[in-house]
């Protein structure tokens, strides 16, 4: 194993961890876990292109350093955050806001919780010393340096528990806002636990306050879906164009559970979303859909790991990338069917649309199959807008940009349509529209 030569800021991060260690929430066993996680990160360092999973997203070249921890937001920062949240407010949701890596109770809505729903800030849970729950939140995949780092440094987040039989009427909306004006990193981690026979909708947004520019967001989400439960998940990344967003979600499904997730990335300078979904109960169903709308010098990477561990599960992945200017879109999707996971039905389709000659799209859909009685497939296409369709519309009087916008809308439509809730689908469409308008 190569010894990673430490850069100055690399050392600074180590020092920052040493100093912050006592201030990070959680003592005893939690502190021990954090130390192990940090050591795991230090062993590997920032992932680079020689590590297969990071082949297309070389953080050593793109990010260079992990910035030190952001300070807790002051009143001014909270004010800027409130403005940003208001601008992207979604009606009819219960909002939970994290500003610069700290839960902001004043901007959040914790009143009149449904029966069976519990929401607590992560810091509170860790400080209270709820050992079982804490261990689950901080438990971390030490083979992935960025998830390990997130576990080591997590300052706050939300812990949501939904008791058996509870079906939430109101979607939950976790908003991550970067509001500090100085470049810094924020580390958050959240947990969502759905009991048996439950139902919930979770929206996650990543936003920037007015003066927040070159910050780094490191987020982790852990989801456990109980038997017969259903979770709908929508994720919108609208970070500042200079920002980094390195996030991961780890989802496990019980028997006959259903997980529907949609992600749209239009913001951020460099973003990487690592989604790991494990079917650990028979008869579960997973729908994963994603859209990248990127331009300028943006780099957006979605890495999906779909793990079929038990028989009779189904998964569908639809992914669309629209890449303009000098942007670079990456999709890596790996479906693994374990030896006993017979009757698995897994399909993955990824398509990239290149709008400029300098744009780049890399697709790596993988199948890894160890069971014989399965139906698995994937498809991948890359291409430009269809000239004849453009011509057809222009011949009917549509300006070029408008014609392109229509075709792009149709292209990403299939993925967006998978969102079950009408109002949330509208929100996603509006986000896509904003990107198209900015382009025109």
């Amino acid at each position: 194993m190569n010894v990673v030569a430490k850069t100055e800021t690399g050392r600074a991060l180590g020092d920052a961890f040493a100093v912050a260690r006592d201030r990070l929430p959680g003592k005893g066993k939690i502190a021990e876990q954090r130390r192990e996680a940090f050591e795991a990160y230090e062993r590997l360092g920032l992932p680079h292109r020689r590590i297969e999973d990071w082949k297309y997203t070389d953080l050593r070249a793109l990010m260079r350093e992990v910035l030190p921890l952001a300070p807790a937001p002051d009143a001014a920062a909270l004010g800027r955050a409130a403005a940003a949240v208001k601008l992207r407010a979604i009606d009819g949701v219960r909002r939970l806001v994290l500003v610069d890596g700290a839960f902001a109770p004043d901007l959040s809505d914790l009143g009149k919780l449904d029966k069976g729903l519990s929401i607590r800030p992560l810091r509170e849970v860790l400080d209270a010393g709820d050992s079982a729950l804490s261990a689950q939140v901080i438990a971390t995949d030490v083979s992935n340096p960025m998830i390990a780092l997130n576990g080591a440094m997590a300052t706050d987040g939300v812990v949501i528990e939904i008791a058996d039989g509870t079906v939430l009427t109101e979607p939950l909306h976790i908003v991550h806002v970067a509001s500090g004006t100085a470049p810094a990193s924020m580390f958050t981690r959240s947990l969502l636990r759905l009991g048996r026979d439950t139902g919930a909708t979770l929206v996650e947004s990543y936003l920037a306050g007015e003066d927040a520019k070159a910050y780094q967001t490191h987020d982790g989400l852990i989801v456990a879906i109980g038997d017969n439960a259903r979770l709908d998940h929508v994720r919108l990344v609208e970070d500042s164009v200079d920002a980094f967003n390195i996030s991961s979600a780890t989802v496990s499904l019980g028997a006959h559970a259903h997980f529907n997730t949609f992600g749209l990335t239009s913001g951020g300078h460099v973003s990487r979303y690592q989604l790991t979904v494990t079917c650990s109960g028979e008869g579960s169903k997973v729908e994963t859909n994603g859209v990248n709308l990127i331009n300028g010098k943006q780099h957006a990477d979605t890495t999906l790991f779909m793990d079929h561990a038990v028989p009779h599960c189904a998964s569908r992945e639809i992914f669309r990338a629209v890449v303009d200017d000098r942007a670079h879109s990456v999709f890596q999707g790996r479906i693994i069917v374990r030896p006993d996971a017979q009757k698995t039905d897994a399909k993955m389709m990824t398509r990239a649309l290149l709008l400029s000659d300098d744009a780049e799209a890399d697709n790596k859909p993988e199948l890894e199959i160890f069971a014989d009685d399965v139906t698995c497939g994937h498809g991948a296409t890359t291409g430009a807008l269809d000239e004849s369709l453009l011509f057809y519309m222009r011949a009917r009087g549509l300006p070029e940009k408008e014609a392109q916008a229509l075709l792009i809308q149709a292209f990403v439509g299939e993925a967006i349509e998978s969102i079950a809730s009408d109002p949330l689908r509208e929100v996603a469409i509006a986000t896509a529209q904003r990107w198209l308008q900015a382009r025109a």
């Binding site: 000659d357 697709n363 139906t375 991948a380 890359t382 430009a384």
Partner: protein
């Protein structure tokens, strides 16, 4: 379910019958001392009477190899190879200088006869002695270069090829007789520094085929090389270089077998193809090295670097491979589509059974304008084998109008095997159009039931379905090979059902 007698017998049958080419030829041979050092490289070079530039080239590769580490990224698992425990050169002891095929050691001739490889031109020409099991095609000519361990023992139809201007000879002779051509092209497609095994090959390659087709010539017959590993503890490192000059065409076939042994033997070959303007090379392989026994013991490690360079405009390279042998296969025949309007094709059937591990696929690198490529890969995994397709399709910034179509399908027979697909699709040009699709499934029970109900046995039914599955690829093979390949497929899958 307890193992019934029938199952036991079937298993026994695979053990002895499955690999038909496992015999060993008793023949005296001349070997280099075991192990690898600069002296080994010098020894091989001296044996071949090579000019100084060739020795220098080899030594440079050897020195670079010392600085490299063995790659580990492929999905294959094998004990560490001790490179000092291998003979790098083994040749049948020459009795005297040969003037005709009749003077070749009869043991060797017998070996090739047993394998169904025609070395005696006349016999084949008159149709007296068709290759056993082969089709009756007396009118069809195939020029054969037979490579036995480290040396080429015979090349047929030399005269006729010469008349057409085609150079087809062992590469060791070509180095002496056509140094200008060899120097111009050797190592330009697969550089000595390319990868661990290619570098090793560059240092110690002993023989292989050299083909040069002059401008405007359509090679009058199929060219073929037949590789045989015979000696114990030896590695085979052959090097093939094929150049199709402007407007020419050549079809080249390659076959390989090895005796049945408990130990693993290394085969690290390098194949380089170059096509100039409007030229075409069709390269077909039926790879049937010894795959190891039913417990996974023995077999060949087949670590091969094959690459074609479409250097000229409108040139074309087509790879067809049927992979049934080897304990481990690690091989990615690739095309560099450099010339404008050039095209590359890759048709592959990879069958793994027993404990075989296959990690194979292709690379299509689009550099020129309006280049196109097509990949059809069929993987069949049975027994406890692992079968991986790994492929790269990439379009560079200037590859305007690049087109690719990829279809890779996997078939699983049994629940102890694995089939994997790892494609890399990289587009850096908006006018590139890439399509990739992959499926994995098992043989439909409905289809099997239908066949069995009409009186076919289970194995016949599976054979029928599998042949349908691989038909697209078989059609690309020259006819003689297609027949052989079809038979190979049924042998490879024997005993995998039930």
């Amino acid at each position: 379910m307890p193992a019934v007698q029938e199952t036991v017998e079937r298993v026994r049958r695979i053990d002895v019958d499955q690999y038909r080419y496992g015999f060993e030829t008793q023949i005296e041979s001349d070997k280099a001392p075991k192990g690898l050092s600069e002296d080994t490289v010098r020894f091989i070079s001296a044996k071949k009477n090579e000019p100084a530039w060739m020795l220098e080239w080899r030594l440079e590769a050897y020195r670079r190899w010392l600085t490299m580490t063995e790659p580990t990224w492929a999905r294959v698992d094998y004990p560490k190879i001790d490179y000092q425990d291998i003979y790098y050169y083994a040749a049948p002891k020459p009795k005297k200088t040969l003037s005709s095929i009749d003077e070749i050691d009869p043991e060797i001739l017998k070996t090739y006869e047993k394998l169904g490889i025609p070395l005696r031109e006349v016999a084949i020409l008159e149709g007296v002695e068709p290759p056993p099991g082969g089709p009756q095609t007396p009118s069809r000519k195939i020029a054969v270069d037979a490579v036995f361990d480290s040396v080429s023992v015979a090349t047929t139809f030399q005269k006729e090829l010469k008349a057409a201007g085609v150079i087809f000879m062992p590469i060791s002779e070509a180095i002496r007789e056509h140094p200008e051509l060899v120097q111009k092209y050797l190592g330009t497609v697969v550089p000595t520094s390319d990868n661990y095994f290619a570098t090793l090959n560059s240092a110690v390659f002993s023989d292989g085929s050299f083909v040069y087709v002059p401008p405007g010539v359509r090679c009058p017959m199929e060219l073929s090389t037949y590789f045989r590993i015979n000696e114990r503890n030896t590695g085979q490192f052959e090097r093939t270089l094929i150049i199709a000059d402007k407007g020419s065409y050549v079809s080249y076939l390659e076959g390989c077998t090895a005796p049945q042994r408990d130990e693993n033997q290394l085969h690290a070959a390098v194949v380089e193809l170059v096509t100039l303007d409007d030229a075409e090379i069709k390269y077909s392989t039926v790879q049937n090295w010894y795959p190891g026994n039913s417990e996974g013991k023995g077999g060949i490690y087949n670590f091969v670097t094959k690459r074609g360079d479409c250097r000229g405009r409108n040139s074309k390279i087509s790879w067809t491979q049927v992979e049934t042998g080897s304990a481990i296969t690690w091989k990615y025949p690739s095309c560099i589509l450099r010339g404008d309007n050039s095209s590359g094709e890759f048709y592959s059937i990879a069958i793994s059974n027993g404990f075989q591990q296959v990690d194979s696929g292709t690379k299509m690198i689009h550099l020129g304008k309006n280049t196109s490529s097509r990949i059809i890969s069929k993987g069949i995994a049975a027994g406890r084998s692992q079968n991986t397709y790994r492929g790269l399709v990439s379009a560079h910034r200037k590859a305007t109008g690049a087109r690719n179509y990829t279809a890779c399908d996997s078939l699983l027979i049994g629940d102890k095997c694995g089939a994997h697909t790892v494609p890399y699709v990289e587009a850096k040009n908006s006018s590139a159009t890439f399509e990739h699709e992959a499926t994995t499934s098992k043989i439909s029970e409905d289809v099997l039931f239908y066949c069995i109900q009409r009186g076919l046995s289970q194995e016949e039914a599976v054979g029928l379905v599998v042949n349908g599955f691989v038909k697209d690829v078989l059609q690309q093979l020259p006819m003689e090979f297609a027949v052989e390949a079809q038979k190979l497929i049924s042998i490879s899958l024997e005993g995998s059902v039930g």
